[in-house]
């Protein structure tokens, strides 16, 4: 463990340090949204739909209004029909004229305290005309199925939805390369299997919350637990029709997001209540409400086929995948497209045919969740590759090595793989786990148990959409860093400060990280897609370059020398090489601000959009979001050791080795923490977590029934191994790490299980019951 005192750091990149805000988190001073109190603040509560699909005929709110302490009740009738959504604009602030899932917010109350607000919400009656509902993909696409979104064609969309075939499909996308028929004809072995995954709940420890306040000029400020202040602003603007100039979105500390808080839900409601009452309104969801009303990971059904030659060369890959998107589109089309984008994994296939369907059902909407469609498809792909290895009699590691993409190869869509540390990752985990030794001589399991090792490779991206940065020189020689990035707890404030400091030779405590604020910060699409270290880092690099350039010009003037003779010195100085003549950043700042020839305040900006256009000659696609702006491909490898109890079917992960190519670890300790945390969230996804619906009713919206791993459910050792192959576009070579560790776990664990058990479960989570049935009856794709 590298224990570092933040105040003594130089050359800040590559050093392990705890979060800048760690102390306030350790002593209870950190302010999260529900900790905030404003004078005159009211409390908001939601009334959630109890029916899955219905027309709203009317509301009975007089009893709620009459409750002492209630200041406002809002329903869908109080709003114009205005739609928000990142990919499809199909959502309104509250259900309007229709409800589409049990748990959908239909009304909202503001009252003097939370208890009164909730009591009032319970008194609201909604008069429904119930409609038949669809709860599964099969039901949703059946002929004459009830239609959730009759006006779908009129919704604004950022992709071509004309390819869809049935009214409840919201997207049908295809990616094709080569000739799949020929590819399978050339294959000596073809595997054809179906894999299923369940809905996972983000289970961030902090439930969703928002506090909205309106000032004397009608300007709204909304504090919320969010992954993007800019998406919050956009969602409020679109759903309520308020101009963005009148909306300021900020965030206090955020207690985790994992994708569930990228898009809004409570924020527009809080704003609406604040505007109605003229007082600040705070809404904090209960855990049960959060699980019932926010969003989940997509449950997915994938039919996957792989064709290979007898010598193990991969030839053809075909996928048809069905994403159950729930009642609103949210990020669904993008998530499904991402899954297709990673449908081949980090392997070379000449013939590729990938088809994705996304479907509306009358359940909680599914949206972004760490991995963004990739865990579902990597689970299918990595498991099938292991089965293929068994079929061909080739070691699973060797089969992968044989077919790996390398730097310089082209990905689906034609993007060139800039760098890849994947081979190094594989080598590290294979060596550390003693893979080859154990393949030759398996570890003996105690009586009544089985042991096995499994491997999975991950390919993902760091990137997505656009971002910017402003670096400003302050009068004392320190700098302000303003990127609009929200730190969800994954450590971005710290990593960004480290990069900015390193770019200017400063210590981290000379960097003032400005909190994300739509009033004051430059645009940042959000904290997701493993993008912040990579994308915002690139913008910071641009900005610090500009600041350095301007400071050097001023320094050359002040030191009366040529630019070429100057060098940047640690601690905030620029000096003449080979001498002790120098000027401090503070002196440069003073010159810039106070002197006629100073040129004005020193500011640098950066603005980045990752732009690698898809090559339609390389890949045919239809019904797809544009992937021009995806990001840098990021690879990893994981090996997992599991033990299975033959009596109960319970799977325990004994040990895990996770090697990830992060380009450059800005803060190695923080990278390790992300790998370990991501692995455990993936462990939950693979073994214990499943949202269960009975028709349209979510039956387990509680930590008592939906179980995430505790300290006793994880291995003693999760070895986080950092591989660094520098990315060419990033000032320090860094890429992201947020999502890959979860993707790896979700595939490596099932592979280890298959190796240990000699039987495969093709559905996640591999609960003890599913495992036991597979052990006893050799059943594949256990239907439980």
């Amino acid at each position: 463990m590298n224990l570092v005192n933040v105040n003594k750091v130089d050359g800040a990149v590559g050093l392990t340090m705890s979060r800048l805000e760690a102390w306030e988190k350790a002593n209870g001073a950190a302010i999260f949204t529900e900790d905030m109190v404003l004078a005159g603040m009211l409390h908001g509560a939601l009334a959630l739909s109890k029916v899955a699909h219905a027309r709203i005929l009317g509301y009975e709110i007089s009893a709620a209004l009459a409750l002492p302490g209630v200041k406002a009740v809002l329903t869908g009738d109080d709003f114009e029909p205005r739609y928000m959504g990142l990919v499809v604009k199909d959502e309104t602030v509250l259900a309007k004229s229709k409800v589409r899932y049990i748990g959908e917010p239909v009304a909202a109350v503001a009252a003097v305290d939370a208890e009164t607000a909730r009591a009032a919400a319970r008194l609201i009656e909604v008069i429904y005309e119930e409609l038949p509902a669809v709860f599964t993909i099969e039901q949703a696409v059946a002929a004459h199925a009830p239609v959730l979104h009759e006006d779908f064609d009129s919704y604004f969309k950022i992709y071509d939805a004309s390819t869809r075939r049935t009214p409840n499909e919201l997207a049908l996308s295809t990616l094709r390369r080569g000739d799949i028929v020929q590819g399978f004809a050339e294959s000596d072995v073809i595997l054809d299997q179906v894999y299923e995954t369940s809905a996972q709940y983000h289970a961030y420890l902090e439930p969703a919350a928002a506090l909205a306040s309106v000032d004397g000029r009608g300007k709204v400020t909304v504090w919320s637990s969010t992954q993007s202040v800019f998406r919050t602003q956009a969602n409020v603007h679109e759903s309520l029709g308020i101009p963005m100039a009148k909306i300021r979105a900020v965030s206090p500390r955020v207690g985790g997001g994992f994708g569930g808080k990228s898009e809004a839900m409570v924020q527009p409601i809080a704003v609406a209540l604040a505007m109605k009452t003229g007082r600040p309104v705070r809404i904090a969801l209960s855990r049960e409400e959060d699980m019932s009303a926010m969003r989940s990971r997509h449950p997915v059904r994938t039919r996957i086929r792989t064709g290979a030659r007898r010598d193990g060369t991969f030839v053809a890959r075909a996928i048809e995948t069905w994403f159950d998107g729930g009642a609103y589109a949210d990020d669904t089309a993008a998530v499904m497209n991402f899954a297709l984008f990673f449908g081949t994994g980090p392997y070379r296939f000449d013939h590729v045919d990938l088809v994705g369907h996304a479907v509306y059902t009358n359940k909680l909407r599914a949206g972004a969740f760490r991995g963004f469609g990739n865990p579902q498809v990597t689970f299918a792909s990595e498991c099938q590759i292991d089965d293929l290895a068994a079929e061909l009699g080739i070691d699973p590691v060797d089969l992968r090595l044989k077919n790996l993409v390398h730097a310089g190869d082209r990905w689906i869509g034609g993007q060139v793989v800039a760098t890849s540390g994947l081979e190094e990752c594989i080598e590290k985990v294979a060596t550390a786990s003693r893979w080859r030794d154990r393949a030759a001589k398996p570890v003996e399991a105690p009586d009544g148990k089985r042991r096995g090792l499994g491997i999975a490779l991950t390919a993902h991206i760091s990137g997505f959409l656009s971002t910017s940065a402003i670096v400003r020189l302050a009068e004392d020689g320190s700098v302000s860093l303003n990127t609009g990035a929200v730190d969800l707890g994954q450590g971005s404030d710290t990593a960004l400060a480290q990069m900015c400091a390193a770019g200017l030779g400063l210590t981290v405590d000379a960097v003032n990280v400005v909190a994300a604020d739509t009033d004051a910060s430059p645009y940042n699409s959000g904290t997701n897609a493993s993008r912040v270290t990579y994308m915002v880092g690139r913008a910071i690099g641009q900005a610090t370059d500009v600041v350095r350039e301007k400071m050097f010009k001023l320094a050359a003037d002040m030191l009366e020398c040529n630019l070429a003779d100057l060098e940047l010195r640690p601690g905030g100085f620029i000096g003449v090489e080979g001498t002790d003549h120098s000027v401090s950043f503070a002196q440069i700042a003073a010159k810039s601000i106070w002197f006629a020839d100073g040129g004005g305040p020193v500011i640098g900006t950066g603005s980045v959009m990752h732009n690698e256009p898809l090559d339609p000659k390389h890949t045919l696609l239809a019904g797809f979001l544009s992937f021009d702006n995806v990001g840098a491909l990021t690879f990893g490898a994981q090996v997992v050791d599991v033990e299975i109890d033959e009596t109960t079917g319970k799977v325990d992960v004994v040990e895990a080795w996770c090697a990830h190519d992060v380009g450059r670890a800005i803060n190695p300790g923080a990278v390790e923490g992300q790998i370990q945390g991501g692995f455990v969230q993936g462990l939950g996804y693979a073994l214990t977590e499943e949202m269960v619906w009975d028709g349209g009713r979510l039956t387990n919206p509680s930590f008592k029934h939906y179980k995430i791993p505790s300290s006793l459910d994880v291995p003693y050792a999760i070895h986080a191994m950092i591989v660094e192959v520098a990315d060419p576009l990033h000032p320090f070579g860094a890429k992201g790490i947020g999502e890959p560790p979860l993707i790896g776990a979700a595939a490596a664990i099932p592979n280890a299980i298959a190796a240990a058990a000699g039987a495969r479960v093709r559905k996640l989570p591999v609960t003890p019951e599913r495992m036991l049935r597979a052990l006893r009856f050799g059943a594949d794709g256990v239907d439980v």
């Binding site: 705890s18 209870g28 420890l205 902090e206 390790e672 370990q676 930590f703």
Partner: protein, 172 residues
């Protein structure tokens, strides 16, 4: 016998407090809403997640499941009471140095659990540490660096001199 409101008198982090509250308030609500001690968090309100952990008479409990009136005359310690004169306790410092803290929402409860463990057992095994925090759910860290932090705190605590150790009492 009381009516449905009462005045609760108790000690919080060494300070006497008296608050007028409805009978059915939980200790978590009173700490957060009446005393602005927002370190304890409402993560689930069912006693499952551990983010609300506090000490009552040096015993670690779920403040979301404790009726506030039942702690009358008791000594309550929250995370805000662990530091002394702004200096981190041994446990808090170890959590910082081991890089255990990510989003932080679970960490106040986690630190209370760790402090209670070390007050009772200054030389815990890794197993005992994992059991002690088994009721604190964390979604960010995977628990690895949390266990590292508690081991670090334990070893530092044992290395500290006897007087300092005695002065640490439950705060650890």
């Amino acid at each position: 016998m009381s009516t449905d409101r009462t005045t609760l008198s108790f000690h919080v982090n060494g300070d006497p407090q008296a608050v007028a509250i409805p009978i059915h308030r939980t200790l978590l609500e009173v700490l957060r809403d009446e005393l602005a001690l927002t370190g304890a968090k409402k993560g689930c309100n069912t006693g499952t997640c551990g983010a609300c952990n506090v000490l009552v008479d040096d015993v670690m409990i779920r403040s979301c499941l404790r009726l506030a009136v039942s702690v009358a005359e008791c000594k309550v310690t929250t995370v805000e009471g662990l530091a002394r004169n702004g200096r981190p306790s041994v446990v808090q410092q170890a959590f910082l140095d081991a890089g255990a803290i990510q989003c932080g929402f679970c960490m106040t409860g986690m630190i209370v659990s760790a402090s209670a463990l070390l007050a009772q057992n200054p030389a815990p095994t890794r197993d005992e540490i994992r059991i002690a925090i088994s009721g604190n759910l964390c979604r960010c860290s995977g628990y690895v660096k949390v266990v590292d932090a508690i081991e670090l705190a334990a070893s530092r605590f044992r290395q500290g001199n006897a007087a300092e150790a005695a002065a640490m009492e439950i705060r650890i």
